[in-house]
């Protein structure tokens, strides 16, 4: 290939490489270096090379239960994001004029507030004598305050709130690309609204569902602040496992090994998803 390229093409390629160099150096320094260092740490013990950090996955039950809980919460958040995000994206994709930017703007609005602030906001809303419990008690719906925070529910709720845009935006983009004529064709052929939605619109929007699900799922796997603040110690997710290992035990090797395992799992999820839809579509570049 390079034999066939002309001197101009080669010069152009060198130029492009040169222009990319600053970005490549930044990515190399700030992303690749820590990853390599982390990988190296995970195999290092007091007496040099060791597999002891990885062996703990099979001996320490906290590891297993933490990973199981993390995946369960990621799964719940993803399902909830589909159920809530799909109708929002649908309405935005189908509405006209100024409505799509308004709806998408409302979806994106939370992005402008820090995750920490939003987590505390949920704490205030959901706590024992919070707004939700007070309102429900006053309305006579409940006698006893519901336990809405310091458990998985609070974690799922707040994480969902923060990650919902990652479901809505790919869904919206996919739905916008479904030609309106397909639904018109479905109707002209005798299909009622339900049938046309089920057999035409829904299947064609699936790439968006998959893209959004992968993003939300993967991001939840590594989420830290909301489970820490709203889990109340009842949720012990992988991210917290990592932080405890460093903060309390100063165990960089153990923390690194957990991160490496989580990273490998995330890569595996992307790999699986890319067998269904191309990676570029998940990341929204196509």
């Amino acid at each position: 290939m390079s034999n066939a390229s002309t001197p101009e093409e080669r010069r152009e390629r060198r130029m492009i490489l040169l222009l990319l160099a600053p970005a490549l150096i930044v990515v190399g320094l700030l992303l690749i270096t820590p990853l390599v260092w982390m990988g190296w740490q995970s195999f290092r013990g007091p007496e040099g090379f060791t597999l002891a950090h990885y062996a703990r996955f099979f001996t320490d039950t906290v590891y297993l239960s933490s990973f199981v809980q993390t995946f369960r919460i990621a799964f719940l958040v993803t399902i909830a994001a589909i159920l809530i995000g799909y109708p929002i994206a649908y309405v935005a994709a189908k509405s006209q004029g100024i409505w799509p930017p308004i709806i998408l703007g409302l979806v994106l609005l939370p992005f402008w507030t820090s995750v920490l602030v939003r987590a505390y906001a949920w704490l205030i809303l959901l706590q024992r004598r919070g707004i939700v419990n007070t309102a429900l008690t006053k309305a006579g719906v409940i006698d006893q305050p519901l336990i809405l925070v310091n458990n998985e529910f609070g974690t799922v709720m707040a994480t969902l709130h923060i990650l919902l845009p990652f479901m809505v935006l790919p869904l919206y983009a996919t739905m916008k690309k479904i030609p309106a004529e397909l639904e018109m064709a479905g109707a002209s052929l005798g299909g009622g609204g339900g049938l046309v939605f089920r057999s035409v619109f829904l299947p064609l929007s699936m790439p968006g569902v998959i893209a959004g699900s992968v993003l939300v799922f993967v991001l939840t796997l590594g989420f830290y602040i909301t489970p820490e603040l709203l889990g109340g110690g009842r949720t012990f997710l992988v991210s917290m496992l990592v932080s405890r290992n460093i903060e309390i035990y100063n165990e960089w090797g153990a923390a690194s090994s957990i991160s490496v395992v989580l990273l490998v799992m995330v890569f595996a999820i992307f790999r699986l998803a890319s067998m269904i839809i191309p990676f570029e579509r998940i990341m929204g570049t196509k």
Binding site: P179, E181, L182, M184, A185, G186, A187, S188, L189, G190, G191, G192, L195, S199, V200, P203, L204
Partner: protein, 362 residues
């Protein structure tokens, strides 16, 4: 022996249909009767309202006022899926995630037809469009012409009372388009369904239709048979839109007609008004010679240029009055024998029967 498809024939009546978007009229008082079994083309420039008119019939566009009847049924406010109208969309609108067979049987599924009756219908539909054996193909694995035929089969399998087609051939290359025109025509003859066919290709409309409705700015300008439309256009818009026509301004001269001071004979009554145009189709002009009829109008001029176009040579002539016309000679031996030189003075003959005068379009 597979069952064949027999759409019922039904006529269409559109009465005073108006469609406004704000103050803009996409359709402006359109009325037309389409006979059962007729092949009607809607011809018009871009933005003239053709798709809007089809949308009105399909139920995707609600008229601001007016009514639509299918046979005796008022369908003005009927939802699209109840209308039983087969539509072939401009880009076919095939469902990309379904196979050919699933696409074509969609109308049967929508009508909850028992599944054991599907294969016979599907085979008949595939056979009709000559795609037997393609049922399991993916849509992405079809050529443009094949997609068009799948769309056609899908629109016909439920034996609709009316079939609408929105520029179904515009995406195809010239050769395939001409083949498909013939196939569509044969299919129409075989089925006898009422077809309303949108195109902005005048040659396609002339080739295929029983009648042609010419649209401009949301209005129907003329509805006539291809021959009438071509030979007797009602105004300068239709005349310039149909065929290879040149319009030369002429003036009324008593009961007669004059082109730059030269008297012309026309076998047809002159239209009213003072802005008149002579419609000159290139095929109606000939070089004057011994075989020219004595009553023919003779137009002297000078050859401007000759343009070789394969099957014929188009010769541009500037008349002595300064106006430009063109005529054709076949690119065969006798044609080349008669071929004039550039700059050569010539006399063109136009028979009074072919001397068509139209008023300026509104």
């Amino acid at each position: 022996m597979p069952t064949s498809l027999h759409p019922q024939k039904v006529g269409v009546t559109i009465r005073n249909a108006v469609k406004r978007y704000g103050t803009f009229s996409a359709l402006d008082d359109v009325s037309i009767d389409v006979a059962p079994g007729e092949f009607l083309s809607i011809l018009g420039p871009s933005g003239s309202g053709k798709t809007t008119l089809l949308g009105l019939l399909g139920g995707f566009v609600q008229p601001t006022s007016g009514s639509i009847h299918l046979g005796d049924t008022d369908i003005t406010h009927m939802p699209p899926h109840k209308r039983d109208i087969g539509i072939v969309f401009q880009n076919y609108a095939l469902f990309p995630h379904m196979t050919v067979g699933e696409n074509i049987t969609f109308p049967l599924r929508a009508r909850r037809m028992p599944k054991d009756q599907w294969p016979a219908k599907l085979n008949a539909a595939l056979e009709m469009v000559e795609l037997t054996g393609y049922a399991d193909r993916a849509i992405s694995a079809l050529s443009g012409g094949q997609r068009q035929r799948v769309a056609l089969a899908r629109a016909m399998i439920f034996e609709p009372r009316l079939i609408l087609m929105d520029e179904p051939l515009s995406a195809l290359d010239k050769q395939l388009r001409e083949t498909m025109q013939l196939e569509l025509k044969q299919l129409h003859a075989k089925l006898g369904a009422t077809i309303i066919y949108v195109t902005h290709d005048q040659r396609e409309a002339l080739t295929m239709s029983d009648r042609i409705a010419v649209m401009k700015n949301g209005r129907l300008v003329q509805v006539d048979s291809p021959k009438e439309l071509h030979d007797r256009p009602c105004d300068s818009f239709v005349a310039s839109f149909i065929g290879e026509a040149m319009l030369l301004p002429v003036t009324r001269n008593g009961a007669g007609l004059s082109l730059d001071g030269q008297a012309l004979r026309s076998a047809h009554p002159l239209p009213a008004g003072n802005d008149l145009f002579l419609t000159v189709h290139s095929e109606k002009l000939a070089f004057a010679g011994p075989q020219t009829a004595p009553e023919a109008n003779l137009l002297p001029g000078r050859v401007e240029s000759c343009l070789y176009q394969g099957e014929s040579v188009r010769i541009f002539v500037t008349l002595d009055g300064g106006q430009s016309v063109s005529l054709r000679l076949p690119s065969n031996h006798s044609g080349w024998q008669m071929m004039p030189e550039q700059g050569q003075p010539v006399t063109l003959a136009l028979h009074p029967e072919d001397t068509i005068v139209v008023p300026k379009a509104a």
